[in-house]
Symmetry: C2
Subunit: 205 residues, 2 copies
């Protein structure tokens, strides 16, 4: 291929990629604020400043946009967290890192998180829901493993592992219900405080 043609194609790919990211970002924001049902393809096109026909050039329908946001976000959360576990940290350090990384991820992709959580429980497409559940289970399996490691190392007492995992995930998952970005603490700091509360306990010594 001639150099000019390569450049043109590369340019188009980049432009398409940027456009896709813009559409996904605006859609996530709209789904998070107006809900899936309250958001139309027209709303999305307007928010992106593009025509409806250009929007349909990228996505068959609203459901396809949603699928990209939702599926991607559960899988990416898992990968984001795994990448941030300190390899040589103590087991409690790794539990703390799991929690703060989830907080950081939430802060970075808040619209996606909200849009994706809202629809997680009512996804009409079974196959897609199963794939998300698989990533969610992998993510939950990871925190259970980290808790078990901390027990085996003698750092945690012999607590009920699934229930402790649920306590950790409840704290993190519920954050999107009350967190306001204009407050003092970042989600990562809140997650760190939760770790301190759960690790050290409330009991005065």
């Amino acid at each position: 291929m001639a150099r000019a043609a390569v450049k043109a194609v590369a340019g188009e790919v980049n432009e398409n990629g940027d456009r896709m990211l813009q559409i996904l970002g605006e859609s996530a924001r709209l789904f998070a604020t107006k809900g899936y049902d309250g958001t139309s393809m027209r709303d999305i096109a307007e928010a992106c400043g593009i025509s409806k026909s250009l929007l349909y050039h990228h996505f068959v329908d609203k459901d396809e946009i949603y699928a990209r946001i939702a599926l991607g976000s559960t899988q990416r959360l898992y990968e984001f967290v795994v990448d941030r576990l300190p390899e040589n940290g103590t087991p409690p350090d790794r539990v703390r890192a799991f929690m703060t990384a989830t907080g950081d991820y939430f802060q970075r992709y808040r619209s996606n998180w909200i849009a994706s959580t809202a629809a997680f429980w009512s996804d009409p497409e079974l196959r897609r829901h199963k794939e998300r559940v698989m990533w969610r289970d992998r993510y939950e399996g990871l925190i259970r493993q980290l808790i078990q490691d901390a027990i085996d190392a003698g750092d945690f007492r012999a607590v009920d592992v699934p229930l402790t995992g649920r306590l950790v995930l409840s704290a993190l998952n519920w954050m999107h219900r009350w967190y306001r970005p204009d407050k003092d603490l970042t989600p990562g700091q809140i997650a760190e405080s939760y770790f301190d509360l759960i690790f050290n306990g409330l009991k005065a010594r």
Copy 2:
């Protein structure tokens, strides 16, 4: 009023009361399983085994039914929990009682809870939403007060009260996302285990 007339009226009131409870119960179950939008007045009438016109005799529309379920449930949760705080218990006992009572309430009114939570965040009617928020805030204010009492009494260390309250509420609020009634533990027992985890902490001593 003649005795027979009194009896007839009383009978009608009871029948109306029972009918209302039946309608509210079936509606909550339908809202919880099919969602608010997915449930029609026809579905509700069919589930109750009554005609649509009899249903409309009791409620103007679906929204009125929903309002009764939703508003009632936040207020009743608060009152249910307050009634179960041991007056002469230690401050930590009272925090534990707050948690287990919430678990018991959840178990008893699970359909209402789910129907009401699902719509809490997207209630289109501002006045109603404000009233629910008031009861929710009162409920959240109660757990904060109980935590503060436990700190003042020297039973809890000097933790961040709002954040600790959120940790407790997150654990309880998230339960409806994963709890299956066929599992071993009751929601009250789960709440009690959460209390133990948070109070004593994970750290091995």
